[in-house]
Amino acid sequence: MKSFIGAQVALQATIKAAKLYADVATDDDPDDGLHVVPGELRRFLARLRLLHGVPFSYLVPDAELLPPESMRFFYIDRAWTDALVQGALSVGTVSTADRAQLEAVYPHIRTEVDEAERTIRRPPGQDRLEGAASTITGFLMRSRAVSGWPNLHVRAYAVDVVADDALTTAAESDPSRLKVLRMERLAPAVLLVLIDGVPAVVHVEEPRQGIQFGARLDANAPPAQRRARVRFRNKNTGNLIGAANAPLTDANSVEVPFRAGAPGVIDLATLRQRLAAKAPPVAPTLAPNEFALQMLRFPYRQVFGDPDNKEGTKFFGLDTFKPTVSLVKWQAAVKTNLGL
């Protein structure tokens, strides 16, 4: 019996189908929209792009590249992450027909996974961001600060708009902030952060749950007569009175009274009265939350990045190069000298 659909017909149909139907949508989600690639596959590939599940030795091939107490910034090589996704897609492509079809549909997969990258990490209350692929940067931090203070805050800014000690009020979808695509502790003391874009400054802040209370010990006091002071704050705004690094005087701090005979035990009743005298409270005596406010040692924020070169440390002397001859004059001079 001669079959009507022979090998030639089937092959032609396959080739035509691969070319014509590469952008046929298979996933229609009311929340997500119409896509070629189904949602769970897209999210899996987007997570691969953000290096989820990739063994650590692939990211840092030699342990000495990340020595203890170090922070290393990097760009993500998009060719590498594309190869990762291509490897995942090669599962199940056995015949030439499969490969031809994958070749035709791959540009659409790549575009859709690019858009899905930004949706993997979305803290509650933030907007959903989508867009074409751009540079991904990040850093790896290996330090005791990561193991001792879990839940660090990391914020990356495209433009340095926040003063170093000012409170952050911009949401992550604000244009001056760059989205953090991934923040994860790969080991107790190793933190990996991926940022969407090239940041101008990065803030790493102590976790706010670990807010501490304490006094400032006087480093110059003799060992037998240790003293301490508490810098007090404006009770309405919570800001320190005076400049951040000013020396401690009676104008901006009170001395801490201690219990006799007991090392380090604070006499809280007297301290309460002294603080109440300096920063008059609402009620006659200082309430517990006002006391806590005064004893606060705010989470420390470390700022990485110096776009305005305030500290005067640039890498190359060329950065201070300023031209003093106009280009036109210089070109003319060169021409004359060369006899042209």
Partner: protein, 726 residues
Amino acid sequence: MPKIGHFILHSNVMPPITAGRYELVSEMSGVPFDVEPEHTHFHVAAPRYVMPPEQIISSFPPANAEGAFGDRLPQIVLKRRTLPWERNPAGGTNPSPVPWLALVVVAEGEAELSGATPVAECCTPEKPLTDPNDKDVEQGLYLAVTETVLKKIFPCEQDLPLLTHVRQVDVHDTELANGDDDGFLAVVLANRLPVFDQANGKSVRYMACLVNVEGQLPRLPKPQPPVPAFEWKLAQDWSVLAQANVSGGPDVQVMGGKGQGVAAGVLPLAGVGRGRRDPEARAAGAAAASRGVPAGVQGSAFAQFVAARPATPVGQALDGAAAMGEPAVGNQWTRAAPVSQATQTIAAAALDPDAKRLVRDTMGMGFRLPIQLYAVEQVFRFPVLAHWSFTTNEGATFETLLQDVDVGLLGAAPNPKPKKAPLPGQPDPLSPPPAPEGPEVVETGHVGLDHTTRRGDAVRAWYRAPCVPFPTPRHGGTVKDAAATEPLPLAHSADQLRRTIPDGREDLALAAAFEIGRLLALSQLSVVSALMRFRAEQFGAGRVRELLAQVLNVPLPGLAGAAHTRPDLGRFVALEMVGTLAKSPAAMLGPRRPVADPGRPLAVNGELDAVIAAGLGIDLAALNKRAASVGALAALEQTAVPLALKPGEQPKPDAALPALKNALQGELARTLGVAVPQASVGGGVIGGGTIVRGRAERPRAAEPDPLDRLIAAAAEDGDDEEEGPR
């Protein structure tokens, strides 16, 4: 939720009722009949002797840490915001702003932490507690302090409300962003700064205990005139008891600070912990395990372990990769100074499989002094809900750690650390050993690694991680002279992405990426099945459509939209087929059989042979005679049939008219016979015996009709032919 970057402090959050067992009596009035009052009992549960671990969010300083904590007040952060006010410490059931929790910091040698004891003995209240049977656990711990130490280090009664507050934080930028923390926390502060022993330059070990002060408020110290400065010394030094021989004492769980003896059944086998690579420790542990030994011998094995080695370098396997060679957790807090014995022991206990129970027990090391046996003055007991120990040495705070962090692009060599001048009283730091040769790194970010080829040769190859120190084009150098955003062409196997460098080595970065991506996808069945389904839906539908388009010449509907919105192609084709069949049945099925009325019944009078022969005008007898000799078929062939018209002959006009008339009359009679069957024509029906070639004339019905009579009357003037056979 507070604004981003803000947190809110509250003085307290009072619960509506305190913990305890309640009886609710409800009565109804205003109804005409009697109603019995209803008694309901309910129990408001709250911790009393042990804090459940899930209620403790964090503590500062971190447990088993060594650092510069001398300027911070220890604190413990609890999850439920009303916890510190859920019991009234003065007794009674009204909620009171004085909390029942206090955080007490004791230095090593000042107080005693007990082992597990029944809760009835954990407290020495002046008057009985509100409901002694309201206990959340059967056994708890207690802190035994002498009166001197109590007066020195415990907070005053007026200080208790000041040291407890509630905080409301914003959790958006943290790892907790995907959980459901509501941001409210209760914080209990201590009143003592855990200071460093500056005069002797020694680190001091402290333990912070969260104690229950129910019923013991009058015992707390009264406020006294303050002093402006302090000097380090222990509130009361009981550390000599550590050397005492206490085999007969009531407190069986004694840890000797100097390797005296170890707790019975508290510290298990040294070698059983994960990740230990030291063969001697493993052997010692295995030997101890096999003997199932009691405290003494086991203790010696463990003490030997503790004394012999520094912190074990333990590797952490992440995602299946090899260990990074990171030092133990306890060791990470101090790099230069040696880690103290206690911290090491606790860190070693943390690696044990029984770590949950063991670590807290081991933290009590150094605080299990039999003070109650030897003290002359009164000793008070306070139940301890949670405790942790830490050490203050001249170390780092978050600020100093982050300021000292070495920042650079990946691949940069670390900056050499400046030598710090030693502080007065501290020994000189040892000079660091010479650093070993670093990895082979080049400016492009490639690292040279050992490579075993498929054939078994050991060569060196280049590998570059996805983390590179400069921006790279997306095509990775595979496409010449292309823009930076030009993507990597699709590769179908890892070998396609191997590159050879002019120096002869291979660059395996992209090939390794391809392979690990493939393995990661294969490792999850859901991904494999999702890929198969995607391929079938997207490609399979298109391929079927193209096949049908080639085979059929019917326009097919487009493939737009998602799969469930498209028309079912199978059904569509079937309907089209049926429609096409219906439109041109002659081409599709074959010639069409014309619609036919049922025929009249044939009346055959006599033998069939005779009737047919008479109708054809053939002599039957002669035919039969001839047939007997040459056969029926030959006889038929030889017989001539009388014809009205010879072939090629023009019909004679005078013969044609009667023939036509006959034909007409016959047809008319037949039609009438069908339409009006009662009417009968007398006489015969004049019909033509004319035979039209190729068509058999059908015999007519026998009954004469009135029309037959009419026709008979009308045909009298015409030539009468022989009437047809009846």
